[in-house]
């Protein structure tokens, strides 16, 4: 069960600020200000604002995650000491969360001073685990841009298998020159992402962290917590065709969604909302249109993308979408797809929510993510 959510996003801190910004159709994508970007083309991205996150190299991604976690634990009513440390786990995904360290090393700049903070890749998860005193399972799932989604899947499996009672699950990633220059080199970026639009030209990057508190039903019931949303099933599959380009037919993404639905014992027709990966690149969105249509049928389910609002937050993206799905279920409304004005005929079989938020009961939602190396992951969330 999801008993708490925490968000540090370009739209603001907190699940409410994040979701309200999405409902309003706001976009946080703007010229990069936190580091020198004049020679980066394009140089638009969605940055997290806040002096509390202006840290030494290596510490920013962990600071995002720690703030989101503290907020999520507070929302769950889990104060320090309320969880048996031996039954507390951490599953925190990232794609390029420590890459500012490489910039600092090469420039001989100051890096975070502790051994833990100066670990690329799994430093944020270790930081969280030590701060919380966790003695249960701790891991950093790395499925590129599907990392956050799979982190939630890992956490749900730990709880389902009795390996933990409470798991902090999510993702964190940050913007730096390393990341922006790399995506620009792939010709994957643009100033204004337009998911599923016929004029889409690419993605804009973003940063931040999102965390959900997953709790076993027994643990939540023992402390009389009524959680409105639970994870019903998870799936993963690989394209196994190309390192950066998606399978044009979306076979891996469709398989991940089918696996998640099968694990949840849910028929596609029962799903009310799909949070798509929806990067705004030509090939991703066309691939997803085929995959979603293959699973749910033509205009068979409401779909949206949040990457026109907060950019592509890489390893955190799937975690943001888990929070989005939980809020959509709780509030009964689906946010619009920022940046979408005129749907691409190649995506016309999708019922993409655009223009304005769509009030509708959402009992079952599915979030799908895809990443470099052909990684695909999906989770199914449902009202309790």
């Amino acid at each position: 069960m999801i008993t708490g959510c925490g968000v540090v996003s370009p739209l603001g801190r907190g699940a409410a600020a994040f979701f309200d910004g999405l409902l309003a159709g706001r976009s946080a994508i703007a010229p990069i200000r936190r580091f020198a970007a004049d020679d980066l083309t394009p140089h638009m991205a969605a940055e997290v604002v806040g002096e509390e996150f202006a840290r030494d190299a290596g510490a920013r991604a962990a600071a995002f995650a720690l703030a989101a976690t503290n907020d999520a634990l507070a929302a769950a009513g889990l104060a320090s000491g309320a969880i048996d440390p031996a039954r507390l786990g951490i599953a925190l995904g990232t794609t390029l969360g420590g890459m500012d360290l490489f910039e600092a090393w090469e420039a001989d700049r100051r890096v975070a001073t502790t051994a833990v903070e100066s670990i690329p890749y799994f430093g944020p998860a270790v930081t969280l685990a030590r701060q919380l005193g966790a003695r249960g399972p701790v891991a950093t799932p790395q499925l590129a841009c599907a990392s956050g989604t799979y982190a939630v899947a890992v956490a749900a499996r730990w709880i389902e298998r009795g390996e933990a009672d409470v798991v902090v699950a999510g993702g964190t990633d940050l913007l730096c020159r390393f990341v922006v220059a790399g995506f620009n080199a792939l010709k994957a970026t643009t100033d204004l992402p337009r998911p599923f639009d016929q004029a889409r030209r690419g993605l804009a990057l973003g940063e931040g962290a999102a965390v959900v508190i997953l709790e076993s039903a027994a643990h939540a019931e023992a402390r009389s917590v009524a959680a409105p949303v639970r994870i019903l099933g998870c799936g993963a599959a690989a394209d196994a065709v190309h390192m950066t380009a998606p399978d044009r037919e979306g076979r891996g993404a469709a398989e991940a969604m089918r696996a998640a639905l099968a694990a949840a014992a849910i028929e596609p027709g029962a799903v009310d909302f799909v949070s798509a990966h929806g990067t705004g690149t030509v090939y991703n969105d066309a691939m997803e249109a085929r995959a979603i249509t293959a699973v749910f049928g033509r205009r068979g389910v409401a779909v949206n993308s949040i990457k026109g609002a907060i950019g592509h937050t890489l390893g955190a993206a799937g975690a943001f979408e888990a929070v989005l799905c939980a809020e959509a279920i709780r509030r009964g409304v689906i946010p619009p797809t920022a940046g979408l004005e005129s749907i691409d005929p190649a995506c016309a079989d999708l019922d993409v929510v655009s223009g304005a938020a769509r009030p509708t009961p959402v009992r079952i939602a599915l979030s799908t993510s895809s990443g470099f190396a052909g990684a695909n992951a999906a989770i199914v969330l449902g009202a309790v």
Partner: protein, 349 residues
């Protein structure tokens, strides 16, 4: 856990698996330059693909390929197999590509960024390349848990199979290191054995799948556990992880024939106390694998399995332990089955 079995094993270690087995079992130190060799039996399309990849992918592809070969597994000619996947454990999987990308951007500005290099900066690059080469269309997962990454990956793969997410998964991991990694480890003060490059994989398969293919299993994954020590070097978390692993495997400590111990130097005393409380049988052979091979991070779990199985008779059990200075812990229990041990020359490249 329903039956998840090991039907294939493969490794690239500093002195080859043969030396690793004989010298580690004899408690002799091993050393030697690690060559990246490509399997001569692979189709040209696979060899050329792996030859272009980063070093860590080459090492892991070599070990994974051997695991598939010893399992008698053949890749399909056409579409990827949706019920076969890969779970990789690695601590610093893409470090060398990250460094190359950063150095190019710093030296030449953004124009120095190369798409091919940037694509390899993600930690799951090796899983992706191996999946493409071997047409693995099932889950492609990479987990990072410090020096416990490999054992964590194998346990996660076993859980996936146990839960019905496919019929076979390559599981294990590897590392490619370099001066910058070693300098970082030194500067950060993270306690480790001397860092060493290696890769090791097993092919995990449901018992039903192995039976359907007519393969006898080399071993059964009995169970295991992962944990974390927020104050690394203390006894409590390690003892709890060990106890949970044995309970999950339903194997008493005194039934273990071989234990692969793994603690970095500063944590040896705590590990020794935890194991002493657990292993009461004087016949249990405790092997300090990392003292011999060095700290191979993501490869350590797979190497531990191979070394442990080599010392077991059918029906005997071993415990593979992974302990990282960051606090990550993993413990896995395996039982040797009656499948024929592959000829050693098939295990090494």
């Amino acid at each position: 856990m329903s039956r998840v079995v090991i039907t294939g094993i493969g490794a690239i270690s500093p002195a080859g698996t043969e030396h690793a087995l004989t010298d580690v079992m004899a408690r002799r130190p091993v050393s030697g330059a690690l060559a990246t060799l490509l399997d001569a039996d692979w189709p040209e399309s696979v060899r050329s693909r792996v030859a272009r990849a980063e070093r860590v992918t080459q090492l892991m592809a070599g070990a994974a390929g051997r695991a598939l070969a010893t399992a008698g597994w053949e890749a399909p000619d056409e579409q990827p197999q949706r019920d076969v996947g890969i779970v990789v454990g690695t601590a610093f999987g893409c470090f060398l590509s990250n460094l190359t990308h950063q150095q190019r951007v710093r030296a030449h500005g953004p124009a120095g960024a190369l798409p091919r290099v940037f694509a390899a900066t993600v930690s799951n690059a090796a899983a992706g390349e191996i999946g493409i080469a071997c047409k693995l269309g099932g889950p492609a997962v990479t987990l990072t848990a410090g020096a416990a990454s490999g054992t964590s990956a194998m346990l996660h793969a076993a859980a996936l199979l146990d839960d019905g997410a496919g019929r076979a998964l390559l599981a294990g991991g590897g590392e490619a290191l370099g001066a910058r990694v070693e300098r970082w480890l030194r500067d950060a003060g993270l306690d480790t054995h001397p860092p060493t490059e290696a890769a090791a994989f097993v092919l995990l398969e449901t018992a039903a799948s192995a039976q359907a293919r007519g393969r006898r299993s080399l071993a059964t994954v009995c169970g295991g556990a992962t944990g974390f020590d927020p104050q690394p070097g203390t006894d409590a978390a390690l003892r709890a992880t060990l106890a949970t692993a044995l309970a999950h495997a339903d194997v008493p400590g005194n039934a273990l024939r071989v234990v692969i111990r793994a603690a970095p130097p500063a944590f040896r005393a705590a590990e020794a106390r935890a194991l002493a409380a657990l292993v009461e049988d004087a016949d249990t052979q405790v092997l300090p694998l990392k003292s011999q091979l060095g700290e191979t991070f993501g490869a350590a779990g797979g190497l531990g399995v191979i070394v442990a199985l080599a010392g077991l008779a059918p029906g005997e059990h071993a415990l593979i332990l992974d302990v990282c200075g960051t606090g990550h812990l993993a413990a896995m229990v395996v039982r040797r089955d009656d499948g024929d041990w592959p000829p050693l020359e098939q295990l090494t490249t």
